[in-house]
Each structure stands twice: as structure tokens, then as C-alpha cells.
Symmetry: C2
Subunit: 204 residues, 2 copies
DNA sequence: GTCTATAGCTTGATAGAC
DNA sequence: GTCTATCAAGCTATAGAC
């Protein structure tokens, strides 16, 4: 179902985007309740009432962020192709998802925080859009295991493992850095590790 | 460094524990800022001023929770034994950690929320206690890879993978259930999947 | 130890001048 | 469209009776 987009002037769109960028920064760092409109306004370089001129409420900013980022977030899984080589398809998905964590850590933490607290703003999205997309890809993977082209693994848990392993580096970034200390970018080592892991796990 | 424990009467300890249990429930569900002392008081069956009779502030309750749960949280890793069979030691750790997620999901989400938001109350714990414990176990695992008893994997990333894969089922429980629908307990399938995964990954 | 009442502050949201 | 000023609600924490 398409939602009617209200028409907006150039300056409206620009300021709306400035606010959304600032809100992403603040919400991902301190959560919904931990963030004040004043902090968002400061980060956006606007006054608090001006922020509320573009969005009717703090909640509206938050919801606007979530829905605006959903496509970005589901894109890597959508690309999984039933016609490709199974192992390479899954490894490609792993790579895309890891790069998403590396390049969009705030977006990752925003979604993580939302889901962690029971996804009060995303319940229907999870049980509809996400559920259906996963169901489609699960049946592709189930076909690959049934025909023996990859090892017999539960497709749901395979997908969960990809989410968990890739998002960990963005969501728990502080912990990763505290444990590894000052060193090279964790993502390089992570990719080598994950490639080993998934090739071994999936070999027929 | 040992911290001096203040002496407390039986009723004091009982009420402190009631409050901490209630606080765990509330903080893990809505985060620190999203939780009010009133909600904690209600869940504990006490009045708000009475809660603040046992703890000087909301922050003190939160910190008391975190430090009180730390030992529980690190216990499974402490048990990893250099003298045991490498694969079985690592699989044992995976099992213990998965059971911890299943049996203590609120504790898992409390830590996850704290780390996700930059661990403002746990910075020193992460870079000291956790860092040192992990360093010790990393060197054990490094010994196993060097002697060829398990495959050559980066020990840090191996530990991260165990954390990520096990905690995912507790922390993102809503998402797991939304995707899998009404069905059997996800943890049974998870354990089968993880056993396959780690045996394949670690085989020399 | 436990309660009622409330002080004092922060915050989301609005009014209204420009 | 943007601002200053401000309202009204909700919150942490305390005072003080019992």
C-alpha cells in the first residue's frame, strides 16, 4: 500500500533532512527517551520550536527515521538470488550486511535499540514486511539444502546468524574496542573470520 | 579490589532484592531513561519514597543492578579450561552462554542496552575486568590454533561470534518470534544449529 | 520503615511577535 | 519560516508526620 507523499518545498525537504540526520545521531546514542528535542535541535542547528514546525512531535521524528531507513536495511537480503551459486549468494549477503554495519553504525544501533525494547513502533513491520521477506528467502535456502548444494542447516537460524554476526560489530562497538584495545579496524578481521565460518558451515 | 559491603538487616536485604528484581524487569524493558521510579515501585509493591529509602537515587539502583549481575555474566567464559579438549571446551562455552540467554533474557537485554548506548556506566569494567578475562582466554585459544588442535581462527572474533550468536536470541527476541511465527522454542533449534556451526568451523 | 505531600527541575509542545 | 517566552505535565528527590 502506497502512502500519499505530501508536497514539500525545497527548503522544507532540506530542513527535514537536517533534522532527521541530527535525530539519528542523538536517538542512536541515547535512545528515544534519553534524547530531548533540544539536543536534536542543537545538533541540527535549529531552535526547538523550529524543529517542531517541521515535525508535529518527537515521536513523529522517530517514526519518520525508522520508516525512512527500512528500505536501506532490508536491501541486502532482497538481493539474495535463487539463481546464483548458493555459497556465493550467502557470502555476498554476509559481505553486504557487514559493510552496512561498518558504514551505517548509527542506523544499526537505532534498529537494535528499537527491537531490544520490544519494537513498540515497528511491530507490524516486523510481522509483515520482514516476516514475508524472510519467508521468501528461507524457501530459497531450503531448496539449496534439500538439493544438497549446501549443508543441511536450518534456514531461519542461518539468517539469524548472519544478522547477529554482522550487526554485533556496530551495535556493541564499544565492547569490541574495549576488548581488542587500540588496534586495526575490526571489520577487516571480521570479514576474514566470517568468510572462513560460512564456507566451512555451508560446505555440502 | 574488594569493596566494603555495608552491614544490612534481614528486611533491608529482602527489600533491596525486591527492588532490584523489579528494576531489572523495568529497565530491561524500557531502558534507563524510559523507566520511572514509580514503575519500579509499583512492580516492587512499594511506594516511591520507600524505594528511595533503600537506594539514594534511580542511578544507584541501575548501577547496583549492573555490578550485581556482572559475575553471573562472565561466569561461562571463566570456565573455559586450557586443559580440556579444545572443541568440547568451546562448545561447552557456547552451550552455557545460550542457556544464560534463555534463562536470563532480561539480564541480557540490560547489558545489551547499556553497551549499545556506549556503556556510560561500565566503561572501566569493560576495559579492565572484561578485557583482562578475554585476553586470558584468547591466549588459551591461540595456543590451540598454533598447535593445530583447532582450525586457524582469530580468537577475538571467535569469542565475539559466540557472544553475538547466543545473545541474539534474548536481545532480539521480538524479531526472532516475528520472523519464525508461532512455533516451537527457538532455543532448541538454535543449539542444533550452533553445534553444527562450531564443529565445522573449528575442525582442524 | 513507610507513608502523604510537595518542592524543584526538566521537557514536550504552543502562543504569538517578527 | 524562525524566533522568544511560556505553559502544563511528568519526573526525581526530599520533608516531615506517623
Amino acid at each position: 500500500m502506497k502512502i500519499q507523499q505530501p508536497r514539500r518545498s525545497r527548503i522544507q525537504n532540506k530542513n527535514r533532512n537536517v533534522i532527521l540526520d541530527a535525530a539519528l545521531q542523538e536517538f542512536s546514542a541515547r535512545g528515544f527517551s534519553g534524547t530531548t528535542i533540544d539536543q536534536i535541535a542543537d545538533a541540527a542547528g535549529l531552535s526547538k520550536p523550529n524543529v517542531l514546525y517541521y515535525f508535529p512531535s518527537k515521536e513523529a521524528i522517530y517514526r519518520g527515521l525508522l520508516v525512512g531507513l527500512l528500505d536501506l536495511w532490508l536491501a541486502p537480503l532482497r538481493e539474495l538470488d535463487a539463481e546464483g551459486d548458493p555459497v556465493e549468494q550467502i557470502l555476498g549477503y554476509v559481505r553486504r550486511k557487514l559493510l552496512l554495519s561498518r558504514d551505517y553504525p548509527n542506523e544499526s544501533r537505532l534498529f537494535a535499540s528499537e527491537v531490544l525494547h520490544g519494537a513498540p513502533h515497528m511491530t507490524e513491520v516486523l510481522s509483515e514486511d520482514l516476516h514475508d521477506l524472510v519467508a521468501e528467502k528461507v524457501s530459497i535456502i531450503a531448496g539449496w539444502t534439500a538439493s544438497g548444494r549446501i549443508a543441511e542447516v536450518d534456514p531461519h537460524h542461518l539468517i539469524f546468524s548472519i544478522w547477529a554476526l554482522t550487526q554485533h560489530y556496530a551495535d556493541f562497538d564499544v565492547q569490541v574496542r574495549a576488548v581488542m584495545g587500540e588496534g586495526p579496524d575490526p571489520y577487516a578481521g571480521a570479514m576474514i573470520f566470517l568468510e572462513h565460518l560460512f564456507r566451512r558451515m555451508l560446505a555440502p
